[in-house]
Amino acid sequence: MKIIVAGCGKIGRAIVKSLVAEGHDILIIDTKPEIVEELTNIYDVMGICGNCADSDIVSEANAGEADIYLAVADSDELNMLSCFIAKRMGAKDTIARIRAPEYNDNSLVFMKDNLEISMPINPERLAAQELFNILKFPSALKVETFSRRTMEMTEVRLQEDSVLDGVKLLDIRQKFKAQVLICCVQRGEDVFIPDGNFVLRGGDRIGVTASNAELVKFFKNTGLLQRPVKNVIILGGSRTAYYLAEMLIDIGADVKIIDKDENICESLSDSLPQAVVIHGDGSEQELLLEEGISTADAFVSLTGSDETNILVSMFAMMNNVKKVIAKVNRDEIAPMAERLGLDCIISPRKIVSDVVLRYARSLENSMGSNVETLYKLMDDKVEALEFNVRADAKCLNTPLKDLKLLKNLLIIGIVREGAVITPSGMTEIHAGDRVVLITTNKGLGDLSDILAK
């Protein structure tokens, strides 16, 4: 597909990187020649240097022929204007980064409709939503929601002495009296899509799907359950922190935000009267101890520096904070941090590029039973795909056990008439269903691709 990315800051780059890996034709626009040059050196993309709200530049980029036009420059207004120009020139879909809180309330709907923006994205809000999902259910390292929030996959890490150590997957339902499905297991660097004979070990990171009630039962019976957080310290007063604090306050948690910048602190305390806002340097251990880090349930480090986030988070872990989350943006650092014991890491850039990728994929597959959404799990090693089943799909009305599926592929849920079916060998796929599956095979574009050849 022809995709134009206007504005190549941190987010823009992450998007370009993942779109190039998917094999799209990419054209980038940025005002800084050195950025354009650098990106065209690293990736196979074409670059134009200029202002993305200048119609001459947009037409030079041939926006009329673009399938997706993405504006992710720093300024919201610029992005909206740029998308508007591209849309008027004939771009099929436009995506704009709009992140100022005042544009993200009622005015968003108005602007989306009138500027014909296909999808506004707000990276900070997306990141805050993901953080909130984790804090709401702190046993989890990560919670992924599928199929318009009707299904969830929860990632947890087993303790070394876990009761699940040495248990065969076949025996789980019986032993712990919970209807759960273990979808994927990460052990060290390897990721497995397990079958019934797979044996779990302590230290594994597993992805589990089940209905909410079954999941709670499972966690209770295996000793993995933790209560929702009550007392959260957030380091760094970014927009993400603001959105997160707002959501946490809504469920009645105590929130403390620490930031170095006095102006930021003041505006936060204006807009979030229920939160305690502390003005000070959060990388000082003294301050953290004084603010009661050792009694907090959760600690979230959201400063602009990956290194600070990692170090401060490790300090929080030493002080027995049960749930520690660090924002780490650079891909190459995340695995190192994980080796140091920080297994709960979020990267706003990755969240955004996943959203865009998902969008691009679903556009591309408007034929056959299409990929509705795509999720990347377990450090991008596993993909979860959601398909709308059309009447012409090849695998209809046959029990799953009789289908010859690809290796390393597991159907984890079938959504029929709004209800989630956790599939067994006898389940059949019907036209009109939505199928969620998980696989380590990359690049599946159609439901028919799941059959082994």
């Binding site: 034709d25 054209l27 050196n41 196979d44 993309v45 074409m46």
Partner: protein, 484 residues
């Protein structure tokens, strides 16, 4: 330096070269009755060596680890061009048609770099297969071998732009479409179509198929190996005009043809470089016509020969329709000046390139203005866009290096026992990838007069000219070869 990917890619180039040699092999087979079988064996052996060496480099010594940066790009291009010329010289030596390896190397370098300077004294004695290979190297070298490789081989890295930048001539190298591979393909399609059109037009003028093909190869690559003793002098006026026009066509930036293809005529026609190029050709042609009219005594002939020579020299092709060595001094002076100008950036022509001159002259004016109005703020514009300081800098650097190297080569060549005009034009003809110079190396002369050392020096000058100095110069820099 990541040696393994450099060797891997260079090995690939040799494999491709072996494939390319299949064509002259076929020609040799067709003409076996006339020329004998020596050429067939020569090509077979050369193909074998090329393949063996290619596979050895690619799979034994090299490895594709995708770590390709600017310096690897330069090294790949420089090494590939040298090795290609060494292997390409083999058929001439093996068949015995050019017994000296150094001479054969010169001839092949001259072919690949689209120079067209020859050490042969009797071209017409060569076998058809060898003549074909000689001209075919022009065609291959014109657009660039590595660009060709990018067009056909699967690739999974975006970093190949470093290779393209090192191989394509001109101050600014950009892509036509987002993907490098597609860009390379588009360029080659345009190249092939234009060549085919020329072949057809030459056939219509009564030229034989073999001659049409070879002359078209020479024109397309702006090479200029003649296959007759008097180059194109023996052909009729129509054929000479066709060649004139196509030489000029191949001296234009190929991006403009792409713009025409996607129907952006306005942008294409507004190109400053195109207009300046056209103006230079027109003015030089008219001046020379007046200057040689008293000598030839016929308006049609004067205009035709004047424009033929102007087109041939400015596009750095090097065909000749008459022996312009006998022309008056003023005409010869214009031609020598044109040698340095060269064609447009992004074409197959050599020389310094019109766009570099435009940028340099505009920079000069800007600086003069700055002296008069010290506080004035002004930029340099080309094609309606501001040229960034980095490009202006690189153009100035290029001019500086160009003249320093020119002078060094000229000084060294002056050790040879020939007159000033011969040596000076020999260096300009080789360094600018033109072919014939004046006096003893004029259109009717030959480079065989030079000693082995001088022949190697001139081969080196041709490579420097084709790759625009830096790739080749960088491989002589010690820090280039440090392991990372």
């Amino acid at each position: 330096m990541n040696y393994r990917i450099v060797l891997h890619t260079v090995g690939r180039i040799l494999q491709i070269e072996a494939l390319l040699m299949l064509l002259p092999l076929a020609v040799s087979v067709i003409y076996a009755g006339q020329d004998g079988t020596a050429a067939i064996w020569a090509f077979l052996i050369a193909i074998g060596i090329s393949l063996a060496l290619g596979f050895f480099l690619t799979y034994v010594l090299g490895k594709n680890n995708n770590l390709l940066f600017a310096r690897e790009g330069f090294a790949i291009v420089a090494l590939a061009w040298i090795l290609m010329s060494v292997v390409g010289a083999l058929p001439f030596v093996i068949s015995g048609e050019i017994p000296s390896f150094i001479d054969a190397f010169f001839e092949t370098v001259s072919g690949f770099t689209t120079t067209g300077a020859s050490i042969l004294t009797d071209v017409e004695a060569m076998s058809h297969g060898m003549l074909f290979w000689r001209s075919f190297t022009h065609w291959v070298g014109g657009m660039g071998v590595l660009v060709f490789v990018m067009a056909i081989l699967p690739q999974d890295t975006g970093r190949n732009i470093h290779i393209m930048r090192a191989e394509m001539p001109g101050p600014i190298v950009g892509k036509l479409v987002p993907r490098l591979k597609d860009t390379a393909r588009i360029l080659y399609v345009i190249y092939i179509v234009l060549t085919a059109v020329e072949v057809v037009l030459l056939l219509l003028g009564g030229m034989s198929l073999f001659d049409s093909l070879l002359h078209s190869f020479g024109t397309a690559g702006t090479g200029g190996f003649g296959i007759k003793a008097d180059s194109l002098g023996g052909y009729n006026a129509y054929l000479q005009w066709v060649i004139t026009i196509f030489m000029l066509v191949f001296g234009v930036n190929f991006n403009l043809y792409y713009l025409i293809l996607i129907k952006q005529f306005k942008t294409a026609i507004k190109s400053t470089e195109l207009w300046v190029y056209g103006a230079i050709v027109f003015v030089s042609g008219v001046l020379i016509s007046f200057n040689i009219y008293p000598m030839l005594g016929d308006v049609g002939d004067s205009v035709r020969h004047a424009f033929f020579q102007v087109a041939s020299i400015i596009t750095t092709t090097g065909y000749s329709s008459v022996d312009f060595n006998l022309w008056p001094g003023f005409s010869k002076a214009i031609l020598v000046v044109l040698m340095f100008v060269g064609g447009c950036a992004g074409s197959t022509a050599g020389g310094i390139k019109v766009s570099r001159f435009i940028i340099a002259i505009k920079t000069v004016f800007k600086d003069i203005k700055k002296m008069l109005h010290p506080r004035s703020v002004a930029g340099v514009k080309l094609e309606g866009k501001k040229v960034d300081d980095k490009t202006i800098n690189s153009v100035s650097t290029y001019f500086a290096f160009y003249f320093i190297i020119f002078l060094i080569i000229f000084l060294l060549l002056s050790l040879e026992p020939f007159d000033f005009e011969t040596n000076f034009t020999a260096v300009s003809a080789c360094f600018n990838n033109i072919g014939p110079g004046l006096s003893a190396v004029g259109p009717m002369g030959s480079f065989s007069i030079y000693s082995d050392a001088a022949t190697l020096l001139l081969s080196f000058a041709m490579l420097l000219g084709r790759l625009e100095i830096f790739p080749l110069l960088l491989i002589f820099t010690p820090s280039m070869w440090k392991k990372k």
